[in-house]
Symmetry: C2
Subunit: 376 residues, 2 copies
């Protein structure tokens, strides 16, 4: 609301310094550092103001290795890469050995273990996860209560029309994030809401509610002691999921409560949770989808006990058992072993063996694939 170029620049610099105490803030009067800048040829220019740094590299998930950046006379490091295949990618900078998110980019990867920024290269025609002018669903942040774990965050997607079609009930997809991710990662990095908005508007997916809880009982490894991890965490999460989360959802949302109207899917550590919860609770879920699901070979029998005990009944109970994984994913070998066990036991399943690795680019592909299969 101020139009004096000099005074406003000075005042804004004061505000930034006061609010953020931003080391490396540009002095008043210097041109702004813009990063990332997606160019018309789909190359991307990244910039970082770091006059004192000796070495700055770009780590982008569309590059196979870190990319060196070069410094100009002002101390702005930059590099232009690509053309980049349209998608949304995580990236960070390494500044003298320290990993930092891009301070000029407010689009952040929600995570407990690292901090990355996100860059979107839009395509033409728009990709399935591109925000478009179609009817949008609502993404709601809620809390539910666990007697043991306290106030638990969950993000819920309701499809377009949910608020007005108040007689309609919907099928529900429980969608779990990976280890170190957060309840926001599926919307902010996986664009689950946008993918469903677009597929629903094209008639390619059934309107559904998507429930994205914080997918661990206890905070990630960096915050918890050894005894709170892994099997203990999975048991406590199962208890919370079945005892608190599902009742909260079924009380507060107009979701259908039959097993054919319930799906569960998840990525990485959340994919492991998905298979464990889905395959061992056949009365609850008819649709079970693992996206590069985390697993260990020595735990196949334990984690798949119900399904392995009666493959014929498992096949009868499940409408879809789906596994997606990238050929470059470090979990590909163990998942491949798992798929062979499923074949041996004649447990029906569909697979999508994609290009790429253990990435959220693949997560978006997998979600947009299974969303078109669910509840049909």
């Amino acid at each position: 609301m101020m139009n004096q170029p000099l005074s406003i620049r000075f005042l804004l610099a004061c505000l930034l310094l006061s609010l953020g105490r931003l080391a490396g803030a540009q002095p008043p009067g210097s041109p702004p550092v813009v990063s990332p800048q997606v160019n018309t040829d789909n190359t991307v220019t990244f910039r970082l103001l770091a006059p004192a740094a000796k070495d700055v590299k770009l780590n982008a998930q569309f590059e196979k290795a870190p990319v060196a950046m070069t410094k100009d006379a002002r101390g702005v490091w930059s590099v232009t890469t690509g053309p980049v295949k349209p998608d949304m990618y995580p990236y960070s900078f390494t500044v003298d050995g320290i990993s930092v998110a891009d301070p000029k980019n407010s689009s952040i990867f929600p995570n407990e273990g690292f901090q990355n920024s996100l860059v979107e290269i839009t395509g033409s025609p728009p990709l399935v996860h591109t925000i478009q002018n179609v009817p949008h669903g609502t993404v709601s942040y809620q809390f539910y209560t666990s007697p043991e774990l306290g106030q638990r965050p969950v993000v819920v997607y309701t499809p377009p029309g949910y608020e007005t079609d108040t007689k309609t009930t919907y099928p529900v997809l429980y969608l779990l994030h990976g280890t170190t991710d957060l309840e926001e990662t599926w919307t902010k990095v996986g664009r689950a809401n946008i993918i469903l908005d677009n597929l629903i508007s094209q008639g390619k997916a059934k309107p559904m509610v998507i429930v994205m809880p914080y997918g661990r009982a206890f905070p990630v490894i960096s915050k918890s002691s050894g005894s709170l991890r892994n099997w203990d965490n999975l048991q406590a999460f199962k208890k919370d999921f079945l005892g608190n989360l599902m009742p909260f959802v079924e009380k507060n949302y107009r979701v259908r409560k039959d097993k054919d109207s319930r799906a569960i899917a998840g990525f990485s550590g959340g994919g492991g949770e998905t298979l464990y919860l889905g395959l061992n609770n056949p009365d609850l879920f008819s649709w079970v989808c693992g996206f590069a699901p985390g697993m260990l070979k020595e735990e196949f029998e334990r984690n798949n006990a119900t399904a392995f005990a009666n493959p014929a009944l498992t096949n009868q109970r499940l409408k879809l058992f789906w596994i997606g994984v990238g050929k470059e994913d470090m979990l590909y070998p163990v998942i491949n072993d798992y798929l062979k066990v499923l074949d041996d036991k004649k447990i029906k399943h569909e697979t999508l063996i994609s290009d790429g690795g253990h990435t959220w680019m693949n997560c978006k592909l997998y979600l947009s694939t299974i969303a078109q299969k669910l509840f049909r």
Copy 2:
């Protein structure tokens, strides 16, 4: 879902490296770096793994100046500060001149201009912004459409009971963030939803809908050319606010549409927008609240034209005209000048001159103060 300590540690390290390419990730087997750690005496320990760094400082908004951190043999820099007065504070580290958020803390300050982390020191009894086991409202992320500006994000708080009391209509508070903030800043840093949950549960605030749009027409200064700034931005934002946002809210939410049921409030740059929109649209808003509102003395007349033209009518129209500012705020002198002009013109107003500066700690105080006055 894995309980082999060595293999899972290795696999998780691989996952972290694959997902985040996290420079400085701790090697498998080393104890986790926990940061921040709030101790029982309300001191706080901050830690950062940065073996190659030469100088690391803590910048915390409860400290007057940066605090030196010291390095241990593993390369973990740390410092313990306080005891700290219970509140939620932004902080960052400066590593060899580069400002970084805390990579072990997933609680991030949403902002276009800098990246800070948040640390909460809870009090006893709990503070007004502490998440408690009370009925919670819903925080919804929505898009509305601007013909000129495209798909626009807005965050909407609906109070507990909104979904079930479907005959009830609610008063509405439009709540604007500061320059460089985002539509999420009022919930994630200002805890607007939690403050209202707590005040409503205690009967101290009326149930209300709170609308928190992205508070600019154009992205913040760092992303826009000179011509898109300031007055042009304010005019374009006003057009979007009145022409797109308010109609979207009134169509999609059960809000009352009389001026006595509409309030507007905002912080810093959003406080300037608040006064401009609120005081020049007296048929729309009966409640106008500025939190350290951004203003320039040479713009007093222009930005307050309607109110200054007829003080008596202004007093008649407004049920509350409220200004809060901290004595250490760099805007305190100009706001003080503005308050003298209001006195001279006999325009009625309430003030809260608090301790502290241009901070979100004060924003929480101001919101919790005015929330108890609105719609009474």
